[in-house]
């Protein structure tokens, strides 16, 4: 509902009390959803003064209103973390998009501006977790872009329906992307070949499992410090009946001569066609290049990020370090590194098999 105050008809006395009334009303109503418009037609200085009082007080309330904002942020974060908790196989990027879609569905938006700020706040809230943020950032950005693209000269509610509809199609496609990638990549895994992979990647695991249906091959998995998730990868592979060896991260150079190709996942694919992935990937890329082994990257398209790092230093700190270390990064170990496109042979994505140079083409098509 909306309340309209017509200041023109008030005299001074009314102004004194009126401003208080307005103030009270504002206080009451702010908690609910309402619009207060103040019509000012002939403004004398005194009246202006009162309006100013009203607005300063309004601002005061607005600043205390950030409590609600933090509440919302906590809610978003919980929902996001809960999604990831429920389904261990869910990528954080997809969880982020799911969360944003939930917000779009649950909340009402009167203006585009509000919609955009809410989305931005939600992405910020999700970035504020201890997970690796690369996929959250790219997923969130893709989603926001998608909102702008679906806006025509239509009514807000109509737009919302279109967005929701598109969002759902978008999500189903994304959920299927790992299968698409696995189908493409499995042709490259031949009978009797030896594959080297870095730590744990769900999409690499899926590709290897689908290739194992009619082929036998061996997989070398690096331990993937600091959290040693390579152990998990080896367990998963063994469960699927694929023979595998866990090796030290530092043994990459040692095994490189005996493998046929390298296959890694990625946390983000940047504009140059390079990738951001768990620390040690760059080392692996360098080794593979030196020994002339193909270096394949498997990544879903929502991981395409608008970032153009030229070296390791260019990567934003929040990509490299966990949140608690961000205050002082001089003594901590980075969690990801950047592998330049020159070291990548091909990228397998749900958009097809791409050369690194094709990545920027896709991004330009979307963001121009």
């Amino acid at each position: 509902m909306s309340t309209i105050f017509d200041l023109k008809t008030w005299n001074l006395c009314q102004w004194v009390t009126g401003s208080l009334v307005i103030y009270d009303l504002i206080l009451q109503r702010l908690s609910g959803e309402c619009i207060i418009s103040i019509l000012v037609q002939d403004t004398t200085r005194k009246k202006l003064f009162f309006i100013e009082i009203c607005l300063t007080k309004l601002k005061l309330k607005m600043s205390t209103g950030s409590d609600q904002r933090t509440d919302a942020a906590v809610e978003v974060r919980n929902y996001f973390l809960n999604l990831l908790e429920q389904d261990k196989d869910l990528s954080s990027g997809i969880a982020a998009i799911k969360t944003l879609l939930m917000i779009l569905e649950k909340k009402r938006f009167d203006t585009i501006h509000i919609l955009h700020t809410t989305m931005r706040d939600a992405v910020a809230a999700m970035r504020n977790t201890d997970l690796s943020i690369a996929a959250v950032v790219s997923g969130g950005e893709l989603f926001c872009r998608f909102i702008t693209l679906s806006l025509d000269d239509k009514h807000m509610e109509e737009c919302r329906q279109i967005m929701l509809h598109r969002g759902k199609i978008f999500l189903t496609k994304l959920l299927n992307s790992r299968n698409v990638i696995a189908q493409q990549a499995k042709k490259f895994v031949t009978d009797g070949c030896r594959v080297l992979t870095h730590s744990r990647s769900r999409v690499v695991l899926k590709a290897l499992i689908s290739a194992a249906k009619n082929k036998e091959f061996h997989v070398y998995v690096t331990q993937g410090g600091p959290d040693n998730s390579g152990t998990e990868m080896v367990a998963d592979l063994e469960k699927a009946g694929i023979s595998s060896t866990l090796i030290l991260d530092s043994a990459t150079g040692y095994v490189m001569e005996s493998v046929d190709f390298v296959m890694v996942g990625a946390e983000a694919v940047v504009e140059s066609g390079g990738i951001i992935n768990r620390i040690g990937t760059f080392t692996m890329g360098l080794c593979a290049r030196e020994m002339k082994k193909p270096f394949y990257v498997l990544a879903e398209s929502f991981k395409f990020t608008r970032l153009f790092p030229l070296n390791q230093r260019d990567l934003p700190d929040e990509y490299k370090y966990s949140r608690k270390h961000l205050v002082d990064v001089s003594k901590v170990h980075p969690q990801v590194d950047y592998t330049p496109p020159a070291y990548i042979t091909l990228l397998f994505t749900d958009l097809g098999i791409l050369t690194p140079s094709a990545v920027s083409d896709e991004l330009i098509k979307l963001y121009m």
Partner: protein, 351 residues
Amino acid sequence: MKGQPTKEVTQLIHEMKVGNVEGSYNITAKTLKLFKKIINGPGWTNAEELMNVVRTQGHILQSAMPQETVTASIARRILKLIREEFELLKAKVHQFSEDQASMSLHKLVTQTSNDVNVDYTEPQQGLREALLDHLQEMETELETSSENICVQAEEHIHSSEVILTLGHSRSVENFLKRAVKKRQFLTIIIAECAPDSRGHNLAASLATGNVEIIVIPDSAIFAMMSRVNKVIIGTHSVLANGGLRAACGSYTVALAAKHYSVPVIVLSPMYKLSPVHLCSYEQDAFNLVGCAEDVLEYDSLASHSAKVYSPIFDYVPPELVTLFISNIGGHAPSYVYRLLTELYNPEDYEI
């Protein structure tokens, strides 16, 4: 995909197998003619049916002669043509058109309907005529492709240059002939490409008064490379990543050129572009093994105890190629993926 080959397809496969039809150009021309006949024929009533026929026949051609990628590529191009024409005609009727051309990040985000597949079963008036028109264009493009490559010769070859080539490629022959006419004091070094030694034919055909021709054995490629200004070779087909499937010996040439930083120019008309990736060297039909008689005679003493191979193709990785010259201009290997998306529909990559 099941289906019977038409009589013409069987005939073409037979002729290719016995070697009556040779060379990518001839095969492409024949295949195009064959598909034209299919489109002209009564075997279809709507786009869907036609696409199925083209796909089936393309598949048969490809599985019969997997090393000849041009047959499948022509089928892919025709499929794309059918899609485009169908949508164009449909758009004329319904006044709207949604770009279905290729999968992209942009489309992923903006797609409104769940139904990605267009219904191609709707009959469209004038589809046949439109397709035949376009096929005519394709034929013209094919016929003029060699000439269009040749006209670029002057841009790349200058007077007093030393050019190295390998074997005998028709595109290279025409290209060099044009260069010889326009430029003076050229030296052309031809690696003979044993055991067929087709380089000798090229040497014979280029031999005129105002050009110096040197024929060398393949083993001398590296030794000669230091004095070469440009390497110009042809190719059997261009793979999706910009790599080449070219005559055996091309890899040697490309590596030697890399060592001396000599630019490698590859002449490849657009119909040689194929959306196929080299998955591994053991991949089916990537290479062929030719007759080994020329390498080691059957009745020689060693042939009892030695294995003799004479592979026909080499894979040349894209980083060794400097430039592709096609009938529509020059391209870097990293640009090949872009040309592919313009030529074919990604849905037809698997035929």
